[in-house]
Each structure stands twice: as C-alpha cells, then as structure tokens.
C-alpha cells in the first residue's frame, strides 16, 4: 500500500513527504536544517530540549464546507499558531506552512541555546566532541557573543564520572537531552542508565552492577549531541579533525556491521598509522547506525598487539627460527608438491573470500580437502534457501514473522537481537525456541522451550503440526514428532504470517545438531511457503565473520578433524588454532607429514608447525566478507601492514606460483574478479558494484551534525546481497532428513553443553584491554541439585574433565541450568564444540583467584 503523500511549504520551498513525517524530518529531506538536540530520528519524539521551535501555519478551513478559505489572490489563508511549535513533535499536514528562518524563530533558537550554555562549561578546546559537536556549531551560529550569566553561579559538576568500565560522563557538559537514556531503554532494551534528581540537579546515573551493564553502551557516545559521554577507549585519544576515516566491516561476528576506522599517524607509535577508534558506518540494511561494544572495543586492538608475528619462521633443529619469505615459501611449495596423496587445508571464516578462494584453488589442484574450522553447519542450505535479496530487518512489522532457534541472539549476532526486538515491538511475530531463557525471549510473542538435544525435533514437530492437512508432502516418520499446544500455536502463527525467516544459532548444539536444525528449518520454511522472496528464508548466526563466504567458496566442516589431520601428508592451517581450541589435536598434528601455519599470532598450533607464515590483519589490507545474510561487503586498508606480513591470498598465490599453479595474488580486487567468474552465486559482482551506495534515511554525518555528529555516512559501499540459488532457479525442493545428532548417553554422567557468549576470551578479544574487566573468568554452570551432590557452592572452584582436558574453573550454581547439564561457555579455555560427557569434582584446594585469566590452568 503506497503511503499517502503530503505537500507543505518550508521556508518558501515546497516539500512532498509521506503522511506521518515529522516537520523536522521533512525539512531535513528538503535540505533545510532545523537545529535539534533531543530529537533523534531513530528514537521516539520527546520534544524536550525545545531547540527545534518553528512557526507553523495551517490553512484556515471553512467549517461549513470543509474547504480551505482563500485570500484575495485565491491562495489558501494560513493561520499561524500563537506560539512556536517543536518541529520534532509536529506531524506534517497538507498545505502546512513552516517558517524556520523568520526573525521570531531565530530569536527562539538563540534563547534556547543561551539557556543550554548557561550550565555548559564551554570547554570545547579540550573536549572529545570538539570539531564534531552540534552544540558547538549551533553556538557559532546562534550563540550570543557574551554571557549574561555570572560564571561563579554556574553549576560546577564532576567531569570524569565513570558510568562503567567503558563509558565516562562529564556532568557539566550534559544537556539532559535523554538521547542516551532513551537509546538504552527503547532501542537496546537495557534501561541501565537514567536521570537522577530533577530540575537543574538532574544528572545521568547508573545503578547497575557492573555499571552501565549493556553490550550497547558505546552507541550512546555517538548519539550524545555534546561531549558528555565518551568511551574509555578513545577519551582524550585524538581531536576529531586529526582523524582520517576508513570504511571497514566488523570481524567479530557474522552480521557484518559496517564500520569506520578512525586513524591517525602517531609519534608514540613510531610514526605508524594507528586506529584510534571504531565507529559505526551507516548501512540501514545491515546495522543502521549501531554497533555492539565488542565490535567497537576489540576490532582494532588485536591488530596492534605487540605479540603479532612479523616474519616467517621455519623449524630448524627442532626450533622455530626467523627466515626469509623466499626460503619459507620455497620450502612450503616443495613439500606441498610432494604431498599430493592426502593434502589438507584447514581454514576459518576469519579469512576473506579472496583468501579462501585462493586456498581452495590450491587445495583443489593438490587434490586435497578444503576444511572449514567450525562447529556450525548448514551453509550449503543457506546458499540454497537463504533469505532473498531485499530482506531488511528494519522493514519487519505486522504480518512478518521471525523465528529464533537455538540462539541467544544478543550473544551471537547482537545487531539481529536489536532488530528482532524492535520488529516485535512494531508488531512482527517473534517466535523464540530455545533450551534456556534468553534475553530475546523477553520480546517473544511465542516463547517456546525445548530440552537440549530436541531442537531439530521441535522444528519437525511444528512442521508436523502444520503439515497434517497436506500430509502427502511429509514423510511418514514425521509422525514420531508430535507437537504440544504451544508448538502448534507458534507453528500456525508462523505459517499464517505473510513473511517468515528462521534464524538458527550456536547455543547448545554442535556440528551435526546444527545440520539437523538447519535442515528442519529449511523444511519448515518450505512447508509454510517462506522461501524465495524478500523477507523469507533461512539465516544462521554464524560463529565467524565470513563463515558463509567460506561455505560459498567450497569449504566444508571436517567430519573427523583428528583423523584428517593425523593422516595428512601436509596440512596447511590458515587463521585457525585447532590445538589451542582442542589440545587433543596436538597429537594428531604430530602425525601429519608437514605442517604450515599461516597466522597473526604464534598460536598453540603454530608452535607445532614446520613453517609459520605471518599474515596481515584485515585492517591492513582490503578484501570482501560475505555476511550471514549473504551480503558481500568490502573492507579497506586502514593501517599500514606490520613488519613483513602479507595478505593471506597473496601468500597462497606465491606458494602456488612456485608450483606452477596460476593464481591471482597481486591485488584482492583481481582475486575477486576470479571469484565472480568462478563462483556461480557471485556472478556479475565487481569490486565497483560493492562500493556503490544508496540513499539512506535517516541522513547522518552531514554538516549540521544532525545525529550528534559522530555517525559516518556510507560513502564506500553498502555491499550487494546475493540471491539464494533456489530463487534464481525458481525451484524449491527440500529433502526430508531425520535428525542424526546423538545425545551423549551415559549412565549418571553429566553432559556438558556449549554456550556462546559475546564477551569470550578469543584471540581477537583479549588484546582489547578496555574490555578485560567485562570478561567473565572461566566458569561452568551447574544446577543446584548437581552442585549439592558434588559439594560445590556457587563461586567455588571445581575440576572439570572435558574432551581430554582437565582444568580448574569456577562453578556458577543457578536454577537456570537444568539438572544433569553443565553449561560450558565456548572460548573460555575448556574445549567444547558439541554436547559431551563431562566430569566435575570439587577442587581440592582453591588456587588464588585467577584474575583476567586467558586460559585455564591445566
């Protein structure tokens, strides 16, 4: 249904906008800037700062005829209100006349600015917001030259109030616009900051423990229209005008948030270019203007770590010693050439499409296996049944359904959590099917719980419930999966929705179970006719940024990694640390013929390698990632490469070259051309296409600093969403498969179940020191019953034996853990991909509290 359009006049300019638009936004569309502070187009209007006052006139209506009264010239007579109106709360109406630059309005703007400045410290020269501050700009425009206010009577308030580990508040600079509070309450759903006191004594406080306890806190510093909120990371870091902006993509999860790296050449860093801060870059189809704190505070730190590898290493006399690229590459090529019988490449979704493509080319030429390091499956199903291009969570509302399965969405794909929450608040159906309470379930219209191990079965039960009328389309065995009432209702709601997507994630499931879930979800989508159209299809909250790209480039998870590695004549391990993750694999590697590790750091795996090749961080080079929603996006070099490091794709190409295998290795863009030529789904894509932009609303980052000045417009590409194969072929055919994952069944034994946490202790996270206080120490979750039986109390130390590793960790005893289950967060040091038998016993003597532990004591 097309929206009704309304035409109005703003400062003599005719503007036509959809009904329901606010005057301030209509003006913005017409290029007329009305000053605002409290208004933010992503937040509900509050009209409290009173900055945006304008004169509003409306046509006078003849009561009898309902028609406008005309003046002598035959034009409608306009009646102006007695007082000014806030343009941020006034909706446009037909024939409205708005005056923004009349003397009366300018006077009002001046008055309000003066009021704001009476309490403001005017410390622009030392303020982080200096140079990108709307208050500063507006003061220049409207401000009275001289203060009529006596300085001594100003409120003098604290300037360095930590609201938590990450965010600082300058109380003097705060202008009480409540943008931060409203963002936290309405967008993030974490009302952990608020006003305290009232009147002029009003101040922002937090009373959460830890302070400002939210994954979203950094966004408040972006939308703060003054320099009142700053991040612990960037405070006093640099002045806005010294910073250069580079477009990038966040590599911390698979959402693919568009980022801007602000960089500066720094004497302190020996003249190197340093990333000073990470900011969101607008992409309304991906992350809008938000990013989570993990992305904001980690994306750059690991690339600057002093532990990075800077030159190639080879093993000589049992020791890894520095060498030249020539020597290293010659050796690698020679050994690879003679390893044709069982060559294995193991790579991860941390790599770009270009890296993965070249790796795949090489591996294929050597008749090897291209293995993906992951505990999630289903990328092939997503290539087939993924959401169609044009799917945009910000459009979801009434008539649309989102189903979340086995995913603690905020921990795995934070932006999707924000968007699913807001979609539900706009009226979309949100079905959450998890094994334990999760935050997204608070907003669910259907909040379903299933036992661990029953995820795919529950989806099949839903299929069973809907499919009963069309039983012919269903296999017989599906009758083994009966649906209870809650499942039935949810299934029906999903089927009845006009559009529907299913997101599956990482909670409590391993490789096979996630394969089962993806398959069952695809079946359910097929059955409910939610395929092949925008806003319909399958999504995975992948483990890593480019897991989907890896699947698209032909990488597949290993069925038995241990066997594959120990039988390999040569193993080429790129951007993965299998030994670090699963120490049992160390032995497997000892058996491998020749081991090459290509990495940023000297990982546990690298320590066992024959050759170690130093790779560039993605911040130092360009390339593309394919997001979980299958949007191909470009990132650009922000910092200069460290030492002798090289991009992964180039290293691979040089190895290939030495084996007379022709491969693009000079430029990532050239490799991408090869991808477009060879990978069907990427057909016709070009680097240039990926760099195209689209008009975005709301408009951010222009001269008026409409949104608080620190949002970045998308000028370097919004990326291209791929079409799923089934949509291209216009043919949907799903096969039915029984779930195959087996639940570890052992008499009386506890079962460890993996959970994914956003703040883990992964290699790319721990170098971010600002985040360290927010990382939980290694722990396992125990049910009170099991804990009592083991004699363990909450917070006590236990010895855990899991997948060949024994370590001491804290016990977190809570009703939220089901009896018989032990929750084990991934990436906290205990190896766990899938539910596994676990031994837990009370630690004999407590060690000193391991603070900021990176790995568990083994």
């Amino acid at each position: 249904m097309a929206k009704q359009m309304v035409t109005l006049t703003i400062d003599d300019q005719q503007v036509t906008v959809p009904a329901g638009t606010l005057v301030v936004d209509a003006a913005k569309k017409a290029g007329i800037d009305i000053p605002v502070f409290c208004h933010h187009p992503k937040l509900e209007p509050v009209g409290m700062c009173r900055m945006c006052l304008v004169e509003v006139g409306r046509p006078m209506m003849d009561r009898a005829t309902g028609k406008p009264i005309l003046d002598a010239d035959g034009k409608p007579k306009i009646q102006f209100g007695r007082t000014l109106e806030t343009s941020c709360t006034t909706l446009v109406s037909e024939g409205m006349v708005v005056r923004v630059s009349s003397p009366q309005v300018e006077e009002a703007h001046k008055d309000v600015i003066e009021f704001l400045l009476t309490s403001h410290p005017l410390d622009c020269p030392i303020c982080d917001k200096g140079g990108e501050c709307p208050l500063q700009n507006l003061t220049m425009e409207y401000g009275v030259g001289e203060s009529r206010f006596i300085f001594d009577e100003k409120m003098h308030l604290a300037k360095n109030v930590p609201l938590g580990d990450l965010i600082f508040l300058d109380q003097e600079r705060c202008i009480q616009c409540s943008r931060c509070i409203r963002f936290q309450r309405d967008v993030a759903g974490d009302p952990v900051i608020h006003f305290h006191e009232r009147g002029r004594a009003t101040e922002i406080i937090t009373n959460s423990e830890p302070g400002f306890d939210s994954y979203w806190s950094g966004n408040t510093t972006d939308i703060c229209p003054v320099g009142a909120l700053t991040t612990a990371d960037f405070r006093f870091g640099a002045r806005a005008w010294e910073l250069k902006a580079t477009a990038s993509i966040c590599s911390q999860c698979a959402v693919g948030c568009n980022l801007t790296f602000n960089v500066r050449r720094e004497a302190k860093a020996g003249g190197r270019i340093v990333i000073k801060r990470v900011m969101p870059r607008q992409n309304e189809e991906v992350n809008e203007i938000w990013i989570c704190d993990k992305g904001r505070f980690t994306a750059h730190h690991y690339t600057e770590s002093t532990d990075r590898l800077t030159q190639p290493l080879v093993r000589k006399n049992g020791e890894l010693v520095p060498t030249t690229w020539e020597e290293a590459l010659d050796l690698v090529a020679r050994r690879f050439q003679t390893s044709l019988d069982s060559f294995v490449t193991l790579a991860s979704g941390r790599l770009s499409n270009e890296d993965l493509f070249n790796l795949r080319q090489l591996t294929d030429k050597l008749s090897g296996q291209s293995l993906l390091d992951t505990y999630m499956a289903g990328g092939d199903l997503i290539a087939e049944f993924g959401v169609a291009a044009g799917t945009n969570f910000t459009d979801f509302g009434p008539g649309d359904a989102i189903m979340v399965v086995a995913s603690d969405l905020e921990e795995e794909a934070p932006i999707w959590y924000l968007q699913a929450k807001q979609a539900a608040e706009r009226g979309a159906i949100l079905i959450v099917l998890n094994q334990r309470p999760t935050k997204i379930a608070r907003y669910a219209t259907h909040n379903l719980t299933c036992a661990f191990g029953q995820e795919a079965a529950s989806l099949l039960a839903m299929a069973n419930a809907i499919g009963s009328s069309e039983i012919s389309r269903l296999p017989d065995w599906i009758k083994e999966f009966p649906a209870d009432n809650a499942l039935r209702l949810a299934a029906q709601a999903f089927a009845d929705a006009q559009n529907g997507v299913i997101i599956y994630g990482q909670q409590g499931i391993g490789l096979q179970a996630s394969r089962d879930v993806a398959q069952a979800a695809a079946n359910l989508l097929f059955l409910t006719d939610h395929l092949g159209r925008p806003k319909n299809g399958l999504l995975a909250a992948w483990q890593r940024v480019n897991d989907q790209g890896a699947w698209d480039m032909g990488f597949r998870p290993a069925e038995d990694l241990k066997a594959d590695l120990s039988q390999a004549s040569a193993a080429y391990i790129v951007a993965v640390d299998p030994v670090g993750d699963q120490p049992v694999l160390a032995e497997a590697l000892q058996h491998a013929g020749f081991v090459v590790v290509q990495e940023l750091f000297l990982t546990e795996t690298a320590k066992l390698a024959d050759v170690v090749l130093p790779a560039q961080a993605y911040t130092e080079r360009d390339g593309t990632y394919t997001s979980a929603a299958r949007r191909v996006q470009r990132f650009y070099p922000a910092a200069l490469p460290l030492g002798e490091t090289q991009p992964d794709f180039a290293i691979t190409a040089q190895i290939a070259d030495r084996m007379n295998i022709k491969m693009e290795g000079s430029l990532a863009g050239r490799v991408f051309q090869q991808i477009a030529k060879n990978v069907v789904a990427y057909e016709n894509l070009t680097y240039r296409k990926l760099a195209e932009t689209k008009p975005q609303w709301p408009i951010v980052g222009r001269g008026d600093l409409y949104y608080g000045g620190t949002s970045y417009e998308n000028s370097q590409g919004v990326g291209v969403a791929l079409r799923p194969a089934s949509q291209v072929r216009k043919l949907f055919r799903v096969t039915w498969e029984r779930p195959q994952a087996e639940w570890p069944q052992m008499e009386d034994a506890l079962v460890a179940v993996p959970l994914t946490r956003l703040y883990d202790r992964g290699t790319t996270v721990t170098p971010a020191k600002v985040l360290t206080p927010r990382l939980t120490p290694p722990h396992v979750g125990l049910n009170p019953e099991d804990a009592a039986r083991l004699g363990v109390s909450d917070g006590g130390l236990v010895v855990v034996s899991l997948n060949g590793v024994t370590g001491e960790v804290y016990a977190h005893v809570s009703e939220r853990t089901p009896a018989g289950i032990v929750f084990v967060p991934r990436s906290l040091g205990l190896p766990i991909d899938a539910p596994s038998p676990v031994g837990v016993r009370l630690a004999e003597k407590a060690l000193a509290r391991p603070s900021n532990l990176q790995r568990i004591t083994r």
């Binding site: 974490d190 009302p191 952990v192 900051i193 608020h194 006003f195 305290h196 006191e197 009232r198 406080i205 937090t206 009373n207 959460s208």
Partner: protein
C-alpha cells in the same frame, strides 16, 4: 532473599493488587515507602528488592527515588521534621518560626540533631497555608501534620517523638 517479600509479604501483595497484573511497575512508589520505613532511607539493596518485585532495573528505581523529595537516599534522622516556609506560610511568619526552631534544636538548616535522631528541613507548600506555622513529621509511621504550632509546642512534639523512637530502639 528479597527483604520486602520476607518482612512485608501482605503489604507487598496488597500494593500489587491495586494495579493491573501487567503493570507491576506502578507499585514502585508504594514499595519505596515500604523499603524506607525502618531506616528512613533507601539503600541499594532496597532498590534491587523493589526492582525485582516491579520487574524493572535498579537503575530505574534509583531514578524514581531521586526524583521525589520524600524518598531519602542518604541516612538522616529517623524523625524528619519538615517545616513549610513557602510563600503563603512565609507571609505569616514561617521563616522566623523555622529559624527559631533550628536554633532551639541546635541544628543548621537541613541538619540533624547531634544524637542523630531528628533532621529538620524546609519544605515547599504543604496545603495548610491557613494554619501557620505548620510542619509535618516523616517517620516510620508515615507522615503527620502539625498545624498552628509555636516553637514551644513543636519542641514538645519533637521530644515526644524522640522518646517514642528511643523506646522502640530499646525494645
């Protein structure tokens, strides 16, 4: 465990019953009064307890406690004597009454007596402008008005309350 639920289960239940089921948040003000009753101030644990019952965050509770003047986040006297010195009362001598009362109690404006029992403060209009001087006493029993007072009668009342308080403490 939640102190309010433990100590005042009936009051909590009665309070919640006043509001629609899905509007538990409305109970936050009555529950803050309940939390304040014994100590005459509200600490962080109280806020956590109230937040738990109302289904909001402890930050939101603090924001509310901080907005209204009858909630006290800082410890003070368990007897709060609040004298109206607003315009209508001031026209009938309330400022002088307040000054004399403070002097006789030996406290500054807003101060607490040396024994920590009584805090004396000025408040805005109490809706008793015809019965000046007027003050209210806020203590564990709630709020009580004392109208048409003199400094002497006020001191007597305060003394009585103080004795009641110390008896209770002894008991």
């Amino acid at each position: 465990m939640n102190r309010l639920l433990k100590e005042y289960p009936q009051e909590v239940e009665k309070t919640l019953a006043k509001y629609p089921l899905e509007q538990k948040r409305s109970a936050v003000m009555p529950l803050l009064y309940l939390a304040q009753r014994d100590k005459m101030h509200i600490d962080r644990q109280d806020m956590i307890d109230v937040a738990e019952i109302c289904g909001i965050t402890e930050t939101e509770v603090k924001a509310i406690a901080g907005f209204y003047t009858l909630y006290h986040e800082e410890p003070g006297g368990k007897i709060r004597v609040q004298v109206c010195t607003d315009i209508a009362c001031a026209l009938r001598g309330a400022d002088e009454f307040y000054a004399h009362l403070c002097e006789r109690l030996g406290v500054e404006d807003g101060g607490t007596t040396p024994d920590g029992a009584v805090t004396v403060e000025q408040v805005k209009c109490l809706a008793a402008c015809h019965n000046v001087p007027v003050f209210q006493v806020q203590n564990a029993d709630g709020l009580t008005y004392y109208e048409n007072q003199s400094v002497e009668s006020a001191l007597e009342i305060i003394e009585k309350l103080r004795q009641g308080e110390s008896q209770e403490e002894a008991a």
